[in-house]
């Protein structure tokens, strides 16, 4: 076996795993705070990418405006979704809310096709394109810088939620909404906040994913792998999202190199089935099984 090659593959796998981890973080944030399984996470990420496309390519805004504008725009979308679709269903069975997010995914795909058509598009280049060498191993520059942004953003989000009292409020709400409410924590606002932050994180990962592989109305499929990541990691565990993301990235890279690209998803889902058989609540999830 060629160890240098294996190292290179592993690096690529970990780097794309970083992107999974970022998107998984967006998913976990909503699940942790509101117990909503947001199946439309991939589509929200797509909207972020398309907004960035519009601001940077169509309106030709400079990057430092286009990226924040796309992120804020998607955050606004998150707020609207929470207020109009999720909050009215508060207290309804989880399956109803789950179905709403399934519908939301289709609506978002439809909207994107109406506004931007179903054609594949390329995002403007904004990352350096000199190859990155780690020791002897070569790493595609977009993947490397994408992973770098993901790591920095994940760290920032974790710090904010550890030390800012809004983050503490979110953790308290996740643990016991009724008690949090009577402690003076504005629980509805925490719910909104979780959706907004989740949408903004999704937008960033959408911009990165889109600039690596281009954008199209079917890029929500990325969300499918993200779902695998969060189920493997445990739906409500931030640590699980990170470890699960890296793990799935690694599995996919190995499978597509040594077995062939068509085995990539197969390998991922075999891992999913195995994890669910051994630990039904995910690697790091809370030990409670909820029926959907």
């Amino acid at each position: 076996m060629d160890w240098a090659y294996l190292f290179e593959i592993s690096l690529t796998g970990l780097a794309s795993g970083g992107l999974y981890a970022l998107a998984a973080l967006a998913f976990v944030m909503v699940y942790k705070a509101t117990r909503v399984v947001n199946i439309a996470i991939g589509e929200m990420l797509m909207v972020g990418a398309y907004l960035f496309f519009t601001f940077s390519a169509t309106f030709a805004f400079p990057l430092w405006i286009a990226i924040p504008a796309a992120v804020l725009g998607t955050g606004l979308l998150g707020a609207v979704i929470e207020r109009t679709m999720i909050r009215p269903l508060l207290g309804e069975p989880p399956i109803s809310v789950f179905m709403v997010t399934v519908g939301l995914a289709s609506v978002l795909v439809g909207l994107v096709e109406m506004i931007w058509t179903a054609d594949q598009r390329r995002l403007p280049e904004f990352m350096p394109n000199t190859p990155v060498m780690v020791g002897e191993a070569f790493l595609a520059p977009k993947v490397f810088y994408g992973a770098l942004i993901a790591v920095v953003l994940i760290a920032a989000v974790l710090l904010v939620f550890r030390f800012w009292r809004g983050g503490v409020a979110l953790r308290a709400t996740a643990a016991d909404p009724a008690a949090a409410y009577s402690m003076g924590i504005n629980v509805p606002r925490v719910f909104s906040l979780a959706w907004v932050v989740s949408a903004m994180i999704a937008a960033v990962s959408g911009i990165i994913v889109g600039s690596i592989g281009g954008i199209s109305s079917s890029m929500g499929v990325f969300g499918l792998s993200v779902l695998v990541v969060v189920i493997v990691g445990g739906l409500d565990s931030v640590l699980g999202a990170l470890v699960g993301g890296l793990f799935i990235g690694l599995v996919e890279a190995m499978a597509s190199t040594y077995l062939g690209g068509e085995y990539k998803l197969l390998a991922t889902f075999i891992v999913l089935v195995l994890v669910l058989m051994i630990r039904p609540y995910g690697l790091f999830g809370t030990h409670e099984i909820e029926r959907l």
């Binding site: 800012w164 503490v168 643990a175 016991d176 008690a179 409410y181 009577s182 402690m183 003076g184 924590i185």
Partner: protein
């Protein structure tokens, strides 16, 4: 028969006023026309058989339920329509019947969260741990560590995760969290339920001290009659969602209506009719 707080020698206006509160779920009246006053600085107890509406009453006072009619006034202000978090800011603290601590957090974090409503620092202050956030955190720490933790004698477990603690200590942490809210009135829902003799006596001592040393008014729901009669200045008896008696512990204990609610009427014929009624309904079911 009834000693209203207004007629007490202090004659201070009531801190909390529940006025004609009715709460219905569908056709079921959980509370109907419940009214009473809580005098400032008093320990007031709400008692009654299971299902009498005690917890519904607490949830109405703390804002989880909106009454169908009637009013709740706190410090003279009508809070009937005020959302729960705003009530917490006004000075209404509560504990829960089934322990509602934030699992996965330490004792100290749980207690600090009680102060949430009163903190003002924003995300930027917190990120850089500057100015307001630092001052608030220091003041909070001093207050909580010196007063609340010492007071409730939970110093040795402050860094322990709450889920690992025995039941009695969890109840105590919940009380500490409620105290951290800087309440003017403390609503305690069955503070000694499931506790042994020693734990109950500790808790009774804490409740008395909360009133004596901190000047906090206490309104509690409790089943332990010994404790209610020892501690309370004023007792309110609920049955089927209605106030059937209120007054001093002694007055309430002697009230025939109360005895009937708890023990039945004492009339053998009445008991026989009750039994008959229950067997026939079971037969129908």
């Amino acid at each position: 028969m009834v000693t209203h707080p207004q007629s007490s020698p202090t004659a201070a206006p009531p801190l909390l006023q529940v006025d004609g509160v009715t709460l219905s779920f569908g056709g079921v009246h959980a509370l109907s026309g419940v009214g009473f006053d809580v005098a400032p600085g008093s320990i007031t107890a709400v008692i009654g058989p299971n299902g009498a509406g005690k917890t519904s009453l607490f949830n109405t006072i703390s804002g989880f339920y909106r009454p169908t009619s009637g009013h709740v006034r706190f410090k003279g202000q009508d809070i009937t329509r005020l959302p729960t978090p705003q009530r917490a800011k006004l000075g209404l603290g509560r504990s829960f019947q089934n322990i509602a601590l934030f699992r996965g957090m330490t004792v100290l974090d749980n207690i600090k969260l009680g102060r949430h409503a009163h903190l003002k620092s924003n995300v930027l202050d917190a990120l850089f741990y500057l100015g307001r956030a630092r001052r608030e955190e220091a003041a909070l720490r001093a207050d909580i560590e010196e007063r609340i933790i010492d007071f409730l004698e939970i110093d040795h477990i402050r860094h322990a995760p709450v889920s690992a603690l025995p039941y009695g200590l969890q109840k105590r942490v919940e009380m500490a969290r409620a105290l951290a809210m800087q309440p003017e009135i403390l609503l305690l829902d069955e503070p000694v339920a499931g506790m042994n003799r020693e734990e109950t006596e500790d808790m009774a001592r804490f409740i008395l001290d909360v009133r004596e040393e901190w000047g906090i008014t206490v309104l509690m729901v409790e089943h332990d009659m010994g404790m209610v009669m020892d501690l309370s200045d004023h007792v309110i008896v609920l049955n089927f969602g209605q106030v059937i008696a209120q007054g001093t512990p002694a007055a309430v204990q002697g009230d025939p209506e109360v005895i009937r609610a708890y023990l039945g009427s004492g009339d053998v014929g009445d008991l026989r009719r009750k039994l008959h009624a229950s067997t026939t309904t079971q037969g129908v079911l």
